[in-house]
Structures are given as structure tokens and as C-alpha cells.
Symmetry: C2
Subunit: 229 residues, 2 copies
Amino acid sequence: MNLKAIQKICYGVYIISSKKDDKINGQIANTAFQITSDPPTLAISINKQNLTHQFIESSKVFSVSVLSKFAPMTLIGKFGFKSGRDIDKFTDTKYKMGRTGVPIVLDSTVSFLECEVLSMTDVGTHTIMIGKVVDCDVLGEGEPMTYAYYHTVKGGKEPKTAPTYIKEESIKPAPEESGKYVCNVCGYIYDPAAGDPDNGVKPGTRFDDLPDTWVCPICGAPKSEFTKE
Amino acid sequence: MNLKAIQKICYGVYIISSKKDDKINGQIANTAFQITSDPPTLAISINKQNLTHQFIESSKVFSVSVLSKFAPMTLIGKFGFKSGRDIDKFTDTKYKMGRTGVPIVLDSTVSFLECEVLSMTDVGTHTIMIGKVVDCDVLGEGEPMTYAYYHTVKGGKEPKTAPTYIKEESIKPAPEESGKYVCNVCGYIYDPAAGDPDNGVKPGTRFDDLPDTWVCPICGAPKSEFTKE
């Protein structure tokens, strides 16, 4: 059984948001898909440990923002590798309130869908939530980010609560040139050949030459959290 | 509500196969996604009208073949726009029998997953089937086809039983140059500028100049089933 077979399945990169009482939260997810066309219904799969899961269970509403392929890793890091229990993810994030009172992230968003939950199915670590689309719109002409693009072009990783997470030790990496450093928090690999252009670091910059103020573009961990690959 | 928002969600293009007694069948689907990583489980969404739905309900096993971006439209047409009630789709298709006795399509396949059904959730016109992966492998180095690629590069359409189907009249087409012909059966548009290279028709070939033996590359309908767009 070669589990890399599962990695060939295609996903997008989304921010799923919800609310509970007067609190709002959101998270990155790669699983969203249409169920029926009439009425338009959508399903998402959310880890039970996540705060957004709690919020959707409580309010029975959620929104899906389809991220552009140009979404910066800082946005993905904030919504994907940090918990709403620790930070307010909507500070410095452009969003609007939907008609159901759910927040809808607009930063780097090519389209959004606002949904009312019709049903929830327990699938072990995750819950599949099916929602009726009550509002949706396209924002601009941008191209959506695919999960494959996030992995191969942006060098992105998945958090341990993602359905697609595979323990690093179960994947044998190809022999790599040295000079790369891996983030102990989220698994992001700093590759000097690629640099970190989103944050002003040119390709060809050695890890040691990164400024001390540089942080992991995904999870925000400092340089001291990195170890040589 | 701009329903084009839903079209920004990312999908792949898969052949889902199953069996019932000594019969085998398969169909195109764009919805397959991982649910949990340990044990590896997968969900698919299948229209209740489809023969493959009947077969999975009966045998409780299915396979998913992840199609390559170079999969020919004839393969997609055979599995996506024809019914196993009318033809044997596995004639002239390369496949193998999996360990559960389910057929696994190997033509234009970059990876496959063989699953035993754990649960089924009724979602109106469709059923979400969750399966435990009992076997899987990667076949070669090919890149998977995304649904966006199928639409924009291959000019593909969806059958009426797809969750993503939207009635043509609800989408206002952009003004087009003339010379295009649309298939009345499946909606495929023959564009003379693109030709039909999969079937030896060079770009620049007018519809009238297509040989009488030419058939719709998706559904196999004859030239007489085409009308000027």
C-alpha cells in the first residue's frame, strides 16, 4: 500500500469561518465540495479538535472563502497553523459579515459561499458538515489555489489536524542538497534557493543570513525554532 | 447569489468503479477526498441514478482511479457520458481486478485507491460513501487532471447527473466567434480553432470539413447531433 496514492487527489485551499455568540473564527481547510446543484449544497470536513468545529456546531452557519493562488503564506499560516484560542485571526484580515452573521474572509479570496448547516456526519476524527448555500459571489478574476500548488510551488505543509496529514517519518524524502532548514512547529522548509519572496527575502539567501526578525512564513515561529534538515 | 462562485472549488477527475455479482462498471466523478489519515479513509459522492451507485450499494466496495491530465476525452466520454446499462465500459479499457474483486481502471491513471465502504450518507440526489482504503498505489510520474483543466483546456462539460451541473441557460455565454458547433447530447463544443487533436483533427479544421466518421470525442454522438452554436 503506497499512501502517496492519496496525495494525487485534488483539493483547493479554503478559509472556513464561523461564529459563536459574539466571537468569530476561521481556519484553513482543503476539503470543500458541491453535493447537489438544486438547491446548491456544499460539504466541508472539519477536525473535531478545531475551534471552528465548535463554532459551527453552535451557530450552524459557516462561510467558505476560496483562496487565490497568490494568497500569501502569512495568511495561510495565520488561519492554518494558529488557533483562534490563542489569537484573534480577524485582526488585520479583510472580511465582511454575511447575512447569517458569519464572517467571510475577503483577503486573497476569488469567491465565497455562505452556508446554513443541513446535517453533520461523524467520520471519526472529523465531521462532514453539509450546508445549503444562502449567498455566494465571485470576487474578481483570480485563479484559485490548488493544494498541489500550495505544496509544490509554495512549499506548504499540513497541520497535524488535517485529514491529509501524513507523519514525516512515513515519507522517505529524496536526497536533498544541504542548506535547508525545517520549522519544528509546522514543518515548513526554508530553501535558500527559493528564499521567501513574500517577505522580502531574495532567492539565494542563506538561512544564516536571514535577519533575526525573520519568522516562519507559515506559523510565525522564530529562527531559533528551525533545525538543519 | 452568483452561482459561478461554486465553480471556483477545486476538484480532480476520477473513474470510480465497482461490481455487482459478476458484473463490473465504472463512471467519471469529480468528488473524492480524504477523510482521515489513520486509518486512511476516503469519501466519494455518487448520483443515485447511476449504475455504479447500485453496484457499490450491493458489493460495498469501490475503486478510485485518479486520471492523468493527459487522459483522452474518449476515455472521459466513455466513462462519463455513457451508461453501463447500455455498454460494457471495460471493453478496450486497461484494468486489473483488485483484492476485493473490484475492477481498477489503469488507462491514463496516475494512482488508484481500493476501498471497502464503511458508511453511506443520503444527501438528496447523491450519496456520500465513505470507504476504508485497503489497497493503493502510484502508477508512474504523471500529473493528475484537475476539473478546471478538464473545463478550460479540454473543453469538457458535465453530465446532468453531476453535482456540479448547472443548466446551460443559467450561464450567459460570452459573445463567441462563429464556427463552433455544440453536441446536443453532452454539450461538448467543437471549436475549429482547437480542432480535436486527440482524434487526429488538426486545429483550424472547419466543422463541415470533419470526416463523416468523426464522432463527439466526449459522448460518441455522430456529426448529425451537432448544431451551430
